[in-house]
Symmetry: C2
Subunit: 130 residues, 2 copies
Amino acid sequence: MDKPPRQTKHELFLNYKIWLSGLTGNGRISDTTFELLAKIKELGSIKLAAQACDISYRKAWGDIEEAEKMLEYQLIDKQRGGKDGGHSQLTPSCIKLLEAYDALHQKFDDSVEAAFEDFRKAMLQKPSSE
Amino acid sequence: MDKPPRQTKHELFLNYKIWLSGLTGNGRISDTTFELLAKIKELGSIKLAAQACDISYRKAWGDIEEAEKMLEYQLIDKQRGGKDGGHSQLTPSCIKLLEAYDALHQKFDDSVEAAFEDFRKAMLQKPSSE
DNA sequence: ATTCGATATGCATGGTTTTACACCTCGAAA
DNA sequence: TTTCGAGGTGTAAAACCATGCATATCGAAT
């Protein structure tokens, strides 16, 4: 779920995690929730997406509920019943959010890349002596 | 301990956390650990630093041990005994690491600022309609 | 030699997060 | 109108993590 980290001399990596929260802080949309949303978009089902993300359906559902409460708009059109049991797809707003988040994430990656490169150089300048 | 988040339209905030890890991933140096190190540098004591950081001494000590194992070099010169009980100070390597990390963090903060601004704009472009 | 307080460490406890499981709801298609 | 499988929900169990506490170790200063 976390980005693959980058290496320095001593097998050191930089990791990061980002998430969105509401004003009160008692709700969050994490990286994993966005991955879940992406999978729902791809697979058309919360259940399948949860499996693909290797989390329980219970957690997936809870995360979505939490996110929707926080944003105060629907992220997913949920269809229940039918021979196939039902299916789900992202709302237009959710797709927009997802795209904006992906772009944000990409910029984060680039920033980390650049910042960590400088860090690595600083660490190599005067190698540890003890 | 986490950075103060930034706002969007729907009272939405961006949060993030960065940390260093080893190759195997079973060790980490978090933001809080760096804050602890900074406090140790300032106060000359793990105990006082833990108090200042509002974490238990137990955790502080565990975090340091974990970090030193990961990096495979001493971060702290620990002095036990004496009338005062003992004291601690950062090794030169640790000070260097701390400085590099501070610079890294600063660059990261700046980048995040810019990235989130773009995110906010993207979200405002076509306001949600459902 | 005694003392004192910080370093050092194991383990029980408690709180939070996630999973596991049970069970109900829905509705298009057969 | 019966069926089927995903959506939806409560709750107990398990997994995790940090704290609290107890207790030992160390050694300069007295």
